[in-house]
Every structure is written in C-alpha cells, then in structure tokens.
C-alpha cells in the first residue's frame, strides 16, 4: 500500500527524540502513541519548551479552527497524555505590529469539548426512521463500504452532480473537515458545485460592483490612524472578525479616534469600544446611509475632487454613456425622480433614529478625516442585503475615505494588498462538475434541481442535470440547524424518495447528524495534524501539532477520505503518498513560495514552539492607494475603471425594484411596516453569540454557564406581555415555535428581540424547540442579487409560555 497511515506519530519521530521522550515519559505512554513529536532545544527567539517537575510538557498550538473570526494560539499543558490546562499565546513583545493571538472564552474552554462524554465514538448506521436519531454501532469496514458503494451507485444511476458535500465550517484547518471530502469528490468525477457562503453572500457579491474587487481593506495596523470609526452592525469583540480586531479598535480609540456603534443591540463592542451607541431598527441601514448622504451632499461635505477623479454615477454629469437620463445617486438622494428626498426626517420614521442624531453622525463622518465606516455582516444576511453593502461603499467613496491611511473603503474589506489569508491551502482540485448553485439554495436543488437555472442563480449550466440524491455532510450542521426554516428542512430530509442517502461525519451528534443514514466519528483537531492561516486578516501561519492519537474508534477526516479513496480506486491520486503531517509540510512550502518566503520548516516551527509564524506589520498597506494617486494608470476592475456609484451591470439586470443600479432603501419582505406585523410585531435577530462558533460548542458547560441561551427582550416589550426576566416564553411565527427563558434587558431596541444563533434544535413531541434554535423562525427566501441567505429578516411574536 503506497498510502501512509495518518496514524501513530511515534513512527514519524526520529530515534533520538524517541529516546529522550521515552526517558521523560516512560514507555507506556509512548506505546499508546500518546505524545507529540520531538521537543526541540531552546533557541534564542523561541519560547521555552518547559518541562515541569510533574512531567507536564508545554506545547503551543493553534486553537482548533472552526469558523469564528479568530485564529489564535493555545498553550497546552500536557501530562500523561492528557491536556490538563489551556493557556494562550505568551510570546513576548505584545505590540500592535504583531500582537499576541489571545484565545477567547471558546478556546479557553476547549478541554470541556475535548473530553466531553458525548463525543461520537464509533461508526453507526440508522435503524429507525430518518430523523428519529436511532442508530446501531457498526465496524469501520462496513461503514466505509456503505459510503463507497452509495457513492458509486449514485454516480452510476444519476451522475456526479447528484452528490452534494454541503457547505460546512465546523472543522476548518487545512487537512480537516469538508475540504478533505471535496478533494476526494473532485477526483471521483465531481459533485454539485456551489458558491457563496452563509456568512458573506451579499457582501462578497455586491462589493465588486462598486470596486471591482473584494480586496478593499487596509491592513489593521492602519486603524490607529483613523480619527472616526463607525462600527456599523459590527461586533468584533464578540465575533472577533480576525483575532485582535477589537484590540486594534481599542488602540485606535486610545490614539484619539471617536468610535460610534450603529446596531439594534448594545453589543459587547458598543459597550467596550464605542463612545456612542446608535440603535437602529433592523433592516433599515440603507435608509440611514441615504439620509447621511443627503446631509453630507447638502452641506457640501462630500469630496468633490475625489468623486470627480475616481468615481462615476454620482450625479447626472457622471452617468454612463447612453444612460444620461437615468436616476443618478444624487437624484435618488434628493428625490428628483421618486419625489422623496431622503432627509433625516424621512429616515427617522424608518430607522427609529432621531433626525438630529442622523444629521450629526453625517456631519461627523463627512468632516472628520480620515474616517472608517466598517460594515458588519449581519445587516447583509437580510432581505435586500446587497443594498447596505453598496450603500456603505458609496458613503466611503463620496467622503473620499478610499485609498488613504486611516480611511476605509467599506465593503467586504479583504486585506490589502494580497487579499490576506488563503483559507483553503489544502488542494481540493478542480470540480469536473461545472454546475454550481448558490449555497443557500441546496434544499431547492433537493426538491427541484432539474428545474433550476440562471433564474435561481445556477451557473455553469442552463438547467441542473440532477436533483440532489446523496449528501455527504462533513463538519457541517447545515442540514438542519444552520439552514433557514428547520421544520421545512427536516420535512425535506425525512423524505427518503428525495435525498436517498445521507452520510454524516463529525465529532458530535448534532441535529444534522440525527438525519443521517450513516454516522462516521471524527477525531478533534488535537488528534490530527493541522495548519491555519488567519481568518479574514492576519499575516501568520499557525500550526496544530497532533497531540495524541484519535481516541475510541474516531479517525481524522483525511484518514476517512483516504480509506474511502482506496475503495473507490483512487487512493494514490488522493493521498499522493502523504500523511497529514506531510500535507502540512506541503502547505508550508506553498506559503514559502507565496505569502511568506521566510517561513521556517515544520521541524523548525516545532522546535521554536511558539505555535505560530508571524510577520510583524510596521507599514500597513492601504487598499486603493495607487488607484487614488493615479486612477488613469491604475484603473479598477469595473467596467468604467472607476468606483461605480451607479452600476451599469446592475442596471442591465432590469430589476430596478429589487436590484437598483444605485443603493436604495427597500422595505423588507417581512417588516414592521408590513401587513405581517399585525400578527408578528417583533423583529427577531439571531446574532453570533460569544459562547459558540455558529453551532459549535453549544454543549459546553463552562460556556453555557457564562452565556446561557436566552431570548433577549426590551423591558417595554416585556411589560406589554407581562414577561419578567427568567420567565419561559414562547417565540413563534408561521414557520415554527420555541420555548426558552427570557432575559429582559435595556440593551436591545424596543420592537426587537434577539435569539443568539447556533443553539441545537431540540423539538419536543409537539415540534416545539426547547433549546432556542433561531432557525425554527427563519425563512428560506433568498436575496435578489446574491441569492444569499436572509436569515436575520424575521417577524415573530412572543408570549408567556
């Protein structure tokens, strides 16, 4: 067999190291493969590899990578093969050029996940009805044979495009999780492709219409140059958005920046980073942006020179050829065509923000230079979520905050100038199936794939060849918990005539796992080699050494895929003879040839034992600096080469009511201003909660103690309903119902409730969720341009249970 086992690390150790460790730990532990690789000698730049009196070894490693916005370093204390304590990055010189990557409460609680009794331990197959959650233990051979034969069957019967390896970010370092299966499927002939994410559909799709790129962000060390920062629906202290983003904002503030936070909730970031909190009615961000533009333009605070040199479509003098009589941005703002000037008074009625506050913020943003308008992602996971993305970009452009230190172009803001971290270093290869769907429409592709075409966002084919017949769900809770409208998804998945086979591969039995026909238990990221680069930002590579062998009968994702690849007859192509550690060395080489020419070898990194290779940033790069200096010779990748305030491409789509060529406020399809509010008067949010990464960590006691799952409600709404803090309440709409305790708090706007997303769906016998999974309330309706999820657009009602 040419493929190497990804198994016992002991075989990979050199003899000298083995002997040294043997002396330290005794043979028994090593015989069980219990310790990581060689401990190197201390070097001048490295942190000490300490050996405590009790035999504790310190290993610095990446925090297991899920899909939080952080990529952090843990300092593991290991004794007798067990992690006994978890600290964090302790590299000296914690300054902003290269700050410590301090883990948050989730990483620091990791022992409670690692040693959780509910970890999946054995392969299992379903014995009850699908979705019932009844399984029996089987052998790995049987399990892998089942999956391989089902893959072959579906491929033969329908073709590769009937296979879906769904979106999933539950295990997110380089030789882990979904991408290991994606590589296998690509070698197997492909599987149904998809684009977009559940995080960033609208912001990644819309930003390039303005800027021709998603690389619109300055490196974060530049933030300290800003004098005015708007955290618009942005909550870095809780979701992190790059380890240390909250810390960089703190530093900017210490350096004199005024910070305001626009958000329906008084978030952790609003409390700790902002000088002012401006609560806004959810889904009305573009109304506020438009009114700010009204004040900025009326009071001549816009940057006329920059607009003249670098933008197009601002006013009638700048319209694309042949569209001179169409509505420009200025026309929209002043109501030239629709008769409605977008004044602060107009926006007050929509946003709930006093007109005088709107005018003041506009003046501040228009006159304090340089200024950052940082867009969070929650507001784009909404109906017409493209509009606030475009609107924020346009505000940045008309105030001339693009291409300057301390400024911010808005939009998705990937890091200048190379786009930042790669994320997917592991080579998944090319998918031979050319058809791709917007990721959020996978249930549609189950129900009516063969009818789906461009009108449903399908690319690569006029119509899909197949409905989805086989789902291999790896490190994903998207089947049930994280997709919109849980009750609908459950009904679809229960029907075995639709999806004929579901395999589930994960570390815990999540709500998605309960709908599987086959369950494959995966080890944690402490039990397999791994590597991470930053999340959205960062100039570092973090290594995840294998601490010990997978326990019980768990295997790594890569190992499982490698064993399936043998059964599919493509083992050599799949593994290329590499085990996981060798793939990490391969990945480090790739970094050496691209972003990080100076990166040491894996051996050297291990000897240094810092857990991380990082490049200090002393001269942060500024996006669009060249363009701003000389737009003629550095044109953007837009049709005009300029910043497109008016987009001809959007105009040409011919759907001005839903996809206007300039950013507009559009009332959402579920809205407090709509008829639906008579029955369901409350807007519900499902924010990213500190104790979880999406649905990961929901079962961890230390995290639940710190941040219990609650529905948060303003005292005014609570009083109307006779609700007190601690009461069990019903939250419901036409799509579903939950009963959970309520926390009454002034830190949320009246008319708005919050059910932090990611709690695991726990339906009782009546189908009422008892844990608080917000997706029992959400809608699977998608946004018009990006075909993105609008899971935060929810109307509902609350009553005492």
């Amino acid at each position: 067999m040419s493929r190497k086992e990804g198994g016992p690390v002991i075989s990979a150790m050199d003899r000298r190291c083995f002997l040294r460790l043997s002396a330290l730990f005794g043979g028994g532990l090593l015989a069980s493969g219990g310790m990581i690789s060689c401990l190197g000698e201390k070097e001048s730049k490295s942190l000490p590899v300490t050996m405590e009196d009790d035999g504790t070894v310190i290993v610095r490693a990446g925090c297991p990578s899920h899909n939080c916005g952080g990529r952090c370093v843990l300092k593991l204390h290991i004794r007798e093969g067990e992690i006994t304590r978890i600290e964090t990055d302790d590299r000296p010189n914690d300054d902003i050029t290269d700050p410590q990557l301090r883990a948050c409460i989730r990483g620091r609680s990791y022992r409670r996940r690692q040693y959780h009794p509910d970890r999946l331990k054995y392969p299992m197959k379903r014995i009850g009805e699908r979705g019932e959650g009844k399984f029996e233990r089987i052998t790995w051979d049987e399990a892998l044979d089942i999956l391989a034969s089902q893959l072959n069957r579906v491929k033969e019967q329908y073709g590769n495009s009937a296979i879906l390896v769904p979106y999933g970010t539950g295990s997110y370092n380089q030789t882990n999780g979904r991408q290991t299966a994606a590589r296998l499927m690509n070698l197997f002939g492909g599987s149904l492709g998809f684009y977009n994410s559940y995080s960033w559909a609208c912001i990644s799709r819309a930003t390039p219409y303005v800027y021709g790129t998603g690389v619109t962000g300055n490196q974060r060390q530049d933030w300290v140059n800003s004098k005015y920062i708007i955290m618009w629906g942005w909550n870095p202290a809780e979701m992190r958005d790059g380890t240390n983003s909250e810390y960089f904002v703190k530093k900017a503030r210490e350096n004199g920046a005024k910070v305001i936070c626009i958000d329906p909730r008084m978030t952790m970031s609003a409390v700790s980073l902002a000088d002012e909190w401006v609560p806004i009615r959810p889904g009305t961000d573009t109304a506020l942006m438009s009114a700010m533009a009204y004040v900025i333009i009326s009071e001549e605070l816009h940057d006329k020179d920059f607009i003249q040199r670098c933008c197009t479509g601002f006013d009638s003098s700048q319209m694309p050829e042949g569209l001179e009589n169409e509505e420009s941005y200025r026309d929209y703002i002043f109501g030239t065509v629709d008769g409605t000037p977008k004044t602060p008074g107009w926006a007050e009625k929509i946003t709930g923000i006093p007109a005088r506050t709107i005018a003041r913020i506009a003046r501040e943003y228009g006159s304090i230079k340089p200024a950052m308008l940082y867009q969070g992602y929650g507001m784009q996971r909404r109906a017409y979520g493209e509009q606030p993305v475009l609107g924020g970009c346009v505000l940045a452009a008309i105030t001339g905050n693009v291409g300057i230190p301390g400024g911010w172009a808005s939009g998705i803001a990937l890091q200048a100038d190379d786009g930042g971290p790669f994320w997917n270093v592991f080579p998944t290869g090319r998918n031979p199936v050319s058809e791709r769907i917007p990721v959020f429409l996978w249930t549609e592709a189950v129900l009516r794939g063969r009818e789906m075409g461009p009108e449903d966002g399908v690319v690569g084919a006029e119509r899909l060849e197949n409905n989805i017949r086989l789902i291999w769900c790896v490190a994903s809770n998207i089947l049930i918990n994280q997709h919109a409208d849980v009750n609908r998804s459950a009904k679809i998945l229960k029907d075995e005539s639709l999806v004929e086979f579901i395999a589930f591969q994960d570390q815990f039995m999540t709500p998605s796992g309960r709908f599987a026909d086959l369950v494959l238990p995966v080890c944690t990221q402490f039990e397999v080699w791994g590597l991470q680069d930053g999340w959205k930002y960062g100039d570092e590579v973090i290594i995840n050494p294998k601490i010990y062998d997978p326990p019980y009968e768990t295997k790594s994702d890569y190992q499982i895929c490698a064993e399936i690849s043998e059964r599919l007859g493509i083992a050599e192509e799949y593994t290329q003879g590499r085990d996981e550690k060798e793939w990490i060395e391969w990945a480090i080489n790739r970094y050496r040839n691209t972003r990080f020419p100076e990166i040491p070898s894996l051996d050297e990194l291990q000897k240094e034992n810092t857990g991380v290779y990082s490049v200090p940033i002393r001269n942060p790069k500024v996006a669009f600096a060249d363009f701003r200096r000389d737009p003629e010779n550095n044109p953007l990748n837009t049709p005009s080469g300029r910043i497109e305030i008016f987009s001809r491409q959007l105009y040409d789509m011919g759907k001005p009511d839903e996809i206007p060529p300039v950013p507009k406020y559009i009332q959402e399809w579920e809205s407090p201003f709509g008829e639906e509010s008579r029955r369901y008067p409350l807007q519900a949010l499902g924010h990213h909660y500190m104790p979880r990464v999406h649905s990961t960590h929901d079962q961890i006691d230390w995290l639940e103690e710190a941040f219990p799952q609650r529905v948060f409600m303003n005292p005014i709404d609570a009083q109307e309903r006779g609700i007190k803090s601690g009461d069990e309440v019903r939250v419901f709409n036409d799509r579903g119902e939950m009963v959970i305790p309520c926390r009454v708090t002034k830190k949320i706007m009246p008319g708005v409730i919050n059910i932090p997303q990611g709690a695991w769906w726990e339906p009782d016998e009546n189908g009422v969720d008892r844990r608080g999974c917000v997706n029992v309330l959400t809608s699977h309706k998608w946004t018009p341009l990006a075909f993105g999820n609008a899971q935060h657009t929810i109307m509902c009602q609350v009553g005492k249970a």
Partner: protein, 210 residues
C-alpha cells in the same frame, strides 16, 4: 500603609464582558460549573425615551470583572472560627483547606461573593491570585488571558499612583467595609455605588452556586 499589598487592576472602559478571564481561571483550577472565582458583572441602567417616530436610548452599560479583592481588612478572615484564612505578607488572602471546616461563615461575611463553597470537597474556595504563578515569575491566569488587555496587577500603592483610587463603583459595596485591594478605571458609564437606576443585568451568570 507601607505594607506590601498586591492588587488587581481592571480597566472597565474597554472590558467587553467576554469572560475569557473567568474561564481561564476555571481552567487553571479545574473549577466546575457553579464556582466562579473570577466573574464578570454586566451592569445596565437608564431608560428608553419615545420621541415621535424615534427612540432615544438613554441607556448605559459597563462590565466589572472581579475576583477576590484580597482586602486590606478582610472580613472573611475575621469571620472564620477556625482561623483557616490567612493574609500573606504580600497581601494575598488564602484559605488553608486543611483547616477549613466548610461552615461557610466567610461566605456570608464577604461582601463580594469571592468565597465560594465547593460541594464536592465540602470546603470553601477562592481566588489565590495565582500565587504559584507569581512565585514562578508569571502573571495571574486571568491577567494574561484578556483579549482586550484590560486586566493587570501590581502593588496597590503603585497602581493607585498610576490610576488613582478606583473601588467605589457599582456593584461593589462601599470600600470602607473591607478596604478592597483593587483599582478599577471606571467606564464612562460608571455611576457611583448605590445609584438607584442601575442593576446587574446578568445576575444568573454571576451568582455562584449557593
């Protein structure tokens, strides 16, 4: 004074309430659910004012991360019938677990909820200031955990010289009871102790097991 007295410093202005300090402490000492040697209070007050179509948020909030304050006049020590609590030379207040009978008088005496009963051992427990780390030249676990870098420690006199006095902040009781060895830089929203329109919003999260 003149006596050595270690103290925690906490910058409330930039505390996000993420509770990484709380869990870093639990992890180091293997404290199960219900024991919170360090805990984070979410303080909220004010009201909402309707103004036409608009809402004016006359609302404020801040966080207080607090462990044992290793008081200069520790009531816990005085309350212990078996002299199981001692104040070390560096000012740290520690429980001698061998002497502790688990009578819980100290729990009632402490106005900060710092002394907590461990059901498994039948003994009282509390923050040790990570004295083992201090001996080894390291900082306390909570201090090095903070993603916002708002926790620190040092000699009380030095901290007060740097930051001024700072221990009259809700929800701390008036400092004269115990002379807590803590210096808190107040959040802009911090009101003085005993302000009536103010409350702990997350009471269920900070109440350790009774």
């Amino acid at each position: 004074m003149g006596k050595k007295q270690l103290a925690f410093y906490f910058d409330s202005t930039s505390c996000s309430g993420c509770k990484t300090c709380q869990v870093a402490c639990k992890d180091k000492y293997d404290n199960g659910s219900g024991i919170l040697w360090r805990r984070v209070y979410e303080v909220t007050g004010g009201d909402w004012i309707r103004d036409g179509h608009a809402w004016i948020p006359n609302v404020f909030s801040y966080h207080i991360s607090m462990a044992c304050n290793h008081c200069m006049e520790p009531l816990c020590l005085e309350s212990c019938p078996n002299r199981a609590i001692e104040k070390k030379e560096n000012g740290i207040v520690l429980i001698d677990t061998d002497r502790c009978m688990g009578c819980r008088y100290c729990e009632w005496a402490c106005p900060y909820g710092a002394l907590q009963f461990d059901r498994n051992t039948g003994r009282m427990t509390k923050c040790t200031f990570c004295d083992d780390y201090l001996e080894g030249g390291k900082k306390p676990a909570c201090v090095t955990a903070c993603p916002m870098r708002v926790l620190d420690f040092g000699e009380m006199e030095e901290l007060e010289k740097l930051h001024g006095k700072g221990n009259e902040i809700f929800p701390l009781p008036p400092s004269h009871h115990t002379e807590p060895a803590v210096v808190i830089k107040p959040h802009r929203n911090a009101r003085m102790a005993n302000n009536r329109d103010i409350k702990i919003d997350n009471l269920e999260e900070v109440k350790h097991e009774q």
